[in-house]
């Protein structure tokens, strides 16, 4: 996203005057990178803050000729996975994802249609469809991010899309 290049240049100079604008332009992608893994509203917001902070603190490593959204999404996703793994060890349960969901049902995003749709998918389908459709990442970038072959990513994506096309009418 070349439109983000000027922001990166300013951030590298420790000038954050335009951070609010940058946040507004990127918050959806960061949010969905996390919420496909962690659904608790408070945790998602904490992770969003952590993701942006990590992004700004290592801004010198950001190559603004590449897709900044992909870089930001990767940071957000990795933080979410780290938390997921930590919680998994703490809870010692195979139902970690559900546990995280059930921690505070009043504060989840499950009321939104988009979450009902994504919940029709399994974890890998949900993540790949989110990253490609909502975050607008290329399959090659997704494959690199989730460390799976490009062919596997494409296959999972097609499988998920097919599932949604079959079921989405029942939920919308």
């Amino acid at each position: 996203m070349n439109t983000l290049k000027p922001f990166i240049n300013q951030f590298k100079k420790k000038n954050y005057h335009a951070f609010d604008e940058f946040y507004q332009m990127t918050k959806k992608q960061v949010f969905f990178s996390i919420v496909t893994i962690i659904k608790d509203e408070n945790l998602v917001e904490d992770l969003m803050q952590d993701a942006y902070l990590k992004f700004l603190n290592q801004i010198d490593k950001v190559d603004d000729s590449k897709n900044v959204i992909a870089y930001l999404s990767r940071i957000a996703r990795n933080l979410a996975i780290d938390l997921y793994q930590t919680r998994k060890k703490e809870i010692l349960s195979d139902e970690v994802f559900e546990e995280l969901i059930d921690e505070n049902p009043n504060q989840e995003y499950e009321q939104e249609d988009i979450f009902k749709m994504l919940d029709l998918l399994d974890e890998s389908e949900r993540e790949i469809i989110t990253l490609h459709v909502i975050n607008d990442l290329k399959f090659r970038e997704i494959a690199e991010m989730i460390d799976k072959p490009l062919g596997t990513v494409l296959w999972i994506y097609q499988k998920g899309i097919k599932k949604l096309k079959e079921k989405v009418g029942d939920y919308i």
Binding site: K13, K14, N15, Y16, H17, A18, F19, D20, Y23, Q24, K27, K28, F31, F32, E45, M48, Q49, Y52, L53, L56, N57, Y109, E112, D113, I114, M117, I129, V133, I134, I161, L164, K165, V168, G169, I172
Partner: protein, 342 residues
Amino acid sequence: MKNKDLKKMLIDKSNEVEIRDLSQLIMQRIEKEVIVLPKKDHFKFALKLRPALLFIFVTLLTFSFFIFSPRNYTLAYQINQNEEQIILTSISTLQIGFSDIIIETSLDDDPLISDQIPRMNDYLLWMELLFNQDAFVLNEKTNPYIGSKKHYIFSSKALDNQMIQYEFVIMNSKNTLNYMTIDGFIKYDDDSYPFDIKIQVRQRSYEMNVIIDDHIIIQSSYQNQSNQKSFSFKVYDNHEIQSEIILNRSNENGNHVLDLTIEKGNIEGSYRFRRDNGVLAITYSIANQNRSESGTMRVEIKDDLGDKKFEIEVRPQGRPSFVIETPRPPVRPNPPRGKNNS
């Protein structure tokens, strides 16, 4: 349903999700950089201005004594015992006198406020004293210097209870209908400083011009407008104004608010000071020729193994916060170099 319709639906639905604006929280959490300013020589800048500015302080403070002595100086009495603002003026002038008038401008990428911290350091003590006016005490000395007309001791306390004290000795005074002239000397520690001033007095306001030497003139004025007391301080060098500072003191919800405005200088702007549970809370807005900046600061006095320091947390808008630790200036002003007349 076609793939593109499904994708559009996903995007549309994702756009419906309300995502909280966390940008301010993120800005506040950016790792704070702690900058420790070295102890500075408070008299390294503009040596010729230092004694001049000290003397204007002397002048104003001495003037305040005449306000306290209306029996002898009827014109001063017309000011209607506005001792508070006179003392305010005096203290203010003192701290202006020990502040840097010109400060180097910052690099393009640095927050403007970062270069104002040395000046701010001086203002902080000024504000500290102004917020602590209840501690002001003025006494006439019972055994004055031989030949003097009056001999006073002025004392106050900073917020940490450190004492500030001066002695003022009035040797001569003359009154006319419009003017008052005074000469004498000020004394603190073992040093004495002579002064010779001419004061123009008007009811509810006053203006004061003090010619320090062939080059330096200090002009001060005071006005009382409804809820606001306004003080102006101008420093002229060779008839060119070098610095203009305006101090407004007002009351908001029963609390004192001090607004400091720098109207002339390479960086202009305003600072609003409030006391907030022992912390000095400041909002600022400053600008140079190229850019402007606003933000907030919180100032605490810390004790570092007996050395007092200001810890200033600076939050420039749109930039990361940082903390500056800077030695607190001495409450009792150091004497200007080369002056030792005792």
